[in-house]
Structures are given as C-alpha cells and as structure tokens.
C-alpha cells in the first residue's frame, strides 16, 4: 500500500502565507477529502503533493519523492488539475492516451489502460469525438479518464466534479472511492460537504492556510467547525444508516 506524506509545509505566494505548517498523510486504501473555503490553500497543497510547488519534502513510501526522476514520480502520482483546458481539438481517446506519457512510447499495456479509463468514466460513447465538441461534463470525465489512464497508485484530483451534473458527480466519486478501496491513495479537493461526508473515508479541513481539522467526516464536520470555517449552518439526517448533512444557511445563527 502506497503512503504519501508531507510535514511542516510553508508556502508564501505574493507576500501572503498560503500554507502555514501544514502536514498530511494518506495511505493506500484511503480516500481523503481536502475541504475549506476559497483561498484556504487546498489547491496549493495538492500541487505540493504533486511536486509542482515547493519548497516541500514529500515522502512516497518513505522515500523522498524529490529524488525520483520526473517519469518515476509521474508513474507514482497522477494529478488532475482544476479546469477543463485542452488546447487543441484532439479526439477524446487521444487526450486519454496522453496519460500514458510517463510509461514511455508504445507501451504494450497502453491500449488496455486507455480502454479501462474510458469505461470507468463512462466516456466510451465520446471517445472519438473532438474534445471541443463535448459538453463541460463530458470533457471533465474525459480528463478524469486521462488521469486514471496513468494507473498510478496515488491519485490527486482538484475539484473533479465541479462541472458535472448530480448523476455524474455521484458516479465519479463512487469511482474514486472504488479506486481507494482497491488500494490506491486518493486525495480529492471538494467544495460539496454532502458529497465529502458521503464518499470520503477522511477529511482534512484547511482555513487560511492552516489545518483546522482532520478525521472521519461524521466526527469532524461538526456544527462549530462549519460555522467557524464556512460561516454556515447545516441540516443533518440519516438515510439507510448513513449520516448526511446539507448546507442550509449562511451565517452562524
């Protein structure tokens, strides 16, 4: 089981401290939700884990990831950035195939990995369409398929359900949860507290660059935390034995 870890990360951008002594540890078999209001430092932390921002020491199975070659690191950690940008109108299947880049040219397993990623994201039907003709949701799923096609044991996804309809949001998060339960370490940035509570094994809440909570969603996302971090109140309930929460009102009343 792969273990990804970093400690004491401090990042300052434009004179503002974006991350202040942040630590994180996530293991294979676990889906960790990164939560927090806009500007809390979630995306920066994900970039630190992907090796795109520093300085920070990230350990991958106890080994300093900075000592790996770029290709070795890319095969170990797959990163799905925010946004749906694809600069040329390539067919979707060619976009997914870009995920195989770290494995070198013409790898025999490429075709299977691409087919699996397309199937997992329900993108078969659009595989041969140019990406510029896809809807926002279709394009988001194709880009997720690109990240899955890397077949890395660690998957970092920055708001992967931001452009999706509710049906596909549930499908994508169920897929990420399955990947975690199959042994991958999954870190996902989410804004939807209900989805985070429903699908993540654990949540880490950031506020103004600092970790303010870390633990199982049901125990961590309590009223005081949500009022303090987001300034909201929530409704809570239980369905089929699974607790859920619903953001209800802005303000602490």
């Amino acid at each position: 089981m792969t273990m990804l870890e970093t400690q004491g990360v401090c990042i300052t951008l434009g004179g503002r401290k974006v991350l202040d002594n942040v630590g994180l540890r996530v293991g294979g078999g676990e889906m960790l939700g990164l939560l927090g209001p806009n500007g809390a430092g979630k995306t920066t932390l994900l970039k630190v884990l992907a090796g795109l921002t520093g300085p920070a020491r990230v350990l991958l199975d106890g080994t300093d990831a900075g000592l790996l070659t770029p290709s070795q690191r890319a095969r170990a950690v797959s990163y799905l950035p925010q946004g749906n940008d694809v600069h040329w109108p390539m067919p979707a299947i060619d976009v997914v195939a870009l995920g195989r880049h770290p494995h070198g040219p013409g790898n025999a397993r490429d075709r299977d990995a691409i087919a699996r990623a397309l199937a997992e994201t329900d993108s078969h039907s659009v595989a041969h369409r140019p990406v510029n003709t896809l809807s926002g949701g279709e394009r988001a799923r194709v880009l997720l398929a690109r990240a899955l096609a890397v077949e890395a044991p660690v998957l970092l996804a920055d708001e992967p359900v931001a452009h999706l309809d509710p049906g596909h949001q549930l499908q994508v998060l169920a897929l990420l949860r399955r990947r975690a339960e199959a042994g991958d370490a999954v870190v996902v940035v989410l804004h939807d507290l209900a989805l985070a509570a429903r699908f993540c094994h654990r949540v880490l809440v950031l506020d103004q660059g600092r970790v303010v909570a870390d633990g199982r969603p049901a125990a961590t996302l309590d009223d005081a935390l949500l009022a303090g971090v987001y300034g909201i109140t929530v409704l809570r309930g239980e369905y089929s034995g699974v607790p859920y929460l619903l953001p209800w009102a802005a303000g602490r009343g």
């Binding site: 795109l52 770029p70 290709s71 950690v77 990163y79 600069h87 390539m90 870009l98 880049h101 690109r146």
Partner: protein, 329 residues
C-alpha cells in the same frame, strides 16, 4: 489520415516540385539533360545551369520551407496558439536584424559563418524576449501584440543600420536581400545553412511528445513528467537555429510557418507531434511552389519570393483571425 501516409504523400508532391524546379527556367532542359548534368556529364553549359543555379535554388527552397514549416508547427505547439509563426512573433525579423548586423560590420566577409551565427543568435534572443514579455500561456492578443513589438524593434534596428549605411550599393543589396529570394544562391549557401536547419530540426522533432502532453496545460504536463524548461529550450533554440540559418541564406520569407501547419493540422487529428514532419514537408512544397510561381509570373523584374508569400499569407492570416472571432461569437 495516418501521419506516415500524409508524409509520404507530401514527400511525393515535393519530389515532383523539385523536378519541376530543375526543369523550369530560361533555358529549356529535358529530363535526360538534367540527369546528365547532375552527375557532371554532357554540355558544360547545362552542367553549370543545373549544378550552380537550379539545384542550389531547389535545395535551398527545401531547406527554407522545412525550417519555416517545422518552426511554425513547433512554436504553435509550444505556445498552444495557432497564430504563432516565426514571422508574426518576431523571430524572422530578429534573425534579419542579426544578418544585417553581420553584413553591416563586414563580419560576413571576414568569416562566412558570422552571417548565420549572428542571425541565429538574434532569432533566439527575439523568441526568448517574446516568451518573457508575453508569458507562456498567453492569449492570442498578447502574443500578437508582443510579436509586433519585437518585430517592430528588430525592423527599427535594421532600418537604423541601413540609415547609417555609408555605402548606397550595400544598402540596396541589403534591402533586396531582406525581401527574401532563392535567386542567385550557390551550393555554399546550402552547405552553410543545412547543418543548422538539420540540428534545429532534430531538436524540434525531439520535442514532439512533450508538445502533445502540453495540450493539457503546463501543470498537467509537468505532473506527467515533462520538463517544461527543457521543452521550451528545445523549441526556442531549435527554431532559432533553423530560422536564423535560412533567413541568413534567403532573407525574410513570411507566413509559411503560419499557413502550412494550419492547413495540415486537421489531417493529423490536431496532434502536435504528428504535425511536425508534415509541416516541414508542406513548408518545402509551399516555398518551392512559390519559387516556381515567381519564375513563371511575367513581370519586368522577377518577383521576390518573400513578397509573394506575404501577398498570399497576409490575407490568410486575416481570414484566420476572422474565423477565430466568429467561432467565439
């Protein structure tokens, strides 16, 4: 269409144009004369015409077209912008300035390699300045405005050199040379520019897979193991070597790097790496065809190649901008 098939098709068209380029001219030569002259046999006048006039012209045309087509495709891949072209972003004008400096100070007379070296250095400087000014993920407007600024600066410096030129004959020679032509070039010009075009071409071709991944944006590309710094250097140095060398040999031939990749991109499913070789071949086809046209168009004095490519390319550029505008609205 498979890129290999497309390249084979373009290669066949290019071969036909090379034959046409060897055939056409003031002296009518048949295929047997040409073949004999190529191996130094037959009428000495024919040998001179083929080996010293038409063959260098055709070979230089291939080099110029390959360099410009390939540089256009590679720059468009790097900047993720279909309007990037060595001419539009100022690389050609910077190379022209470098070449004029070498001519102006007489370096080219003392040391023949000074001309391409000076052109290549200024081409690399111009492209690096563009990357610094426009930024790597710049929009179309920023890119074009930055290119115009760099191009204007290079043209202004070139004009200053010409303005201060002590010799009117040298001035007229520089002006004509800057208009771009394959006329009156020798095999020495081919030999001088070929290693740099080849070296630049290898650097840019090696960047192909990285350019593919860059389609996803810089962060995703870096996370997939692409070294962005190395990729940028490969394309900038490769483009500067190739464009600098051909500008030094043939002057400024505009719009080839814009038109050719744009026409061929849909045939390679918009994949930047698959576009590189076809763009090199397509560039050579366009330059050889334009060179045949300037020889065949009746005029009091022969049209300059760079004038013809600009007359065709500039309206194409305008149409491309309008098409992009319409597709956004």
């Amino acid at each position: 269409m498979r890129p290999a098939f497309l390249s084979a098709l373009l290669g066949a068209i290019l071969s036909l144009l090379v034959l046409a380029s060897l055939h056409l001219g003031a002296a009518a030569l048949d295929s047997a004369d040409i073949l004999a002259a190529l191996v130094g046999q037959g009428d000495p006048r024919m040998v001179t015409i083929v080996q010293e006039i038409r063959l260098p012209r055709a070979l230089l045309g291939i080099l110029v077209g390959c360099a410009l087509g390939l540089s256009g495709a590679a720059l468009q891949g790097l900047l993720r912008n279909p309007l990037a072209d060595p001419g539009i972003i100022g690389t050609s004008a910077s190379a022209g300035f470098g070449a004029v400096v070498a001519l102006y100070f007489g370096w080219a007379l003392v040391f023949p390699w000074a001309l391409p070296l000076s052109a290549m250095t200024c081409a690399a400087g111009g492209t690096l300045l563009l990357l610094a000014v426009a930024g790597r993920d710049s929009g179309t407007l920023t890119l074009i405005l930055s290119g115009i600024a760099i191009s204007s600066l290079a043209v202004a410096l070139t004009s200053l050199a010409m303005n201060l030129s002590p010799n009117p004959f040298a001035l007229s020679e520089i002006v004509l040379w800057l208009l771009g032509s394959l006329k009156d070039r020798s095999l020495d010009d081919v030999v001088l520019s070929a290693p740099f075009v080849l070296g630049g071409g290898v650097l840019m071709m090696a960047a192909g897979r990285g350019l593919d991944v860059l389609t996803l944006g810089e962060e995703a590309a870096a996370s997939l193991g692409v070294s962005l710094r190395r990729l940028r250097l490969q394309v900038v140095i490769g483009g500067a070597l190739a464009v600098g060398a051909v500008v030094a040999a043939a002057g400024s031939v505009g719009f080839v790097g814009l038109v050719v990749p744009h026409l061929l991109r849909p045939w390679v499913r918009h994949r930047p790496s698959a576009l590189l070789l076809p763009s090199a071949l397509g560039g050579a086809i366009l330059v050889l065809a334009a060179d045949l046209a300037v020889r065949l168009i009746p005029a009091r004095s022969e049209l300059m190649l760079g004038v013809l490519t600009s007359l065709v390319g500039a309206p194409f550029f305008l149409a491309l901008i309008l098409k992009m505008r319409w597709s956004r609205s």
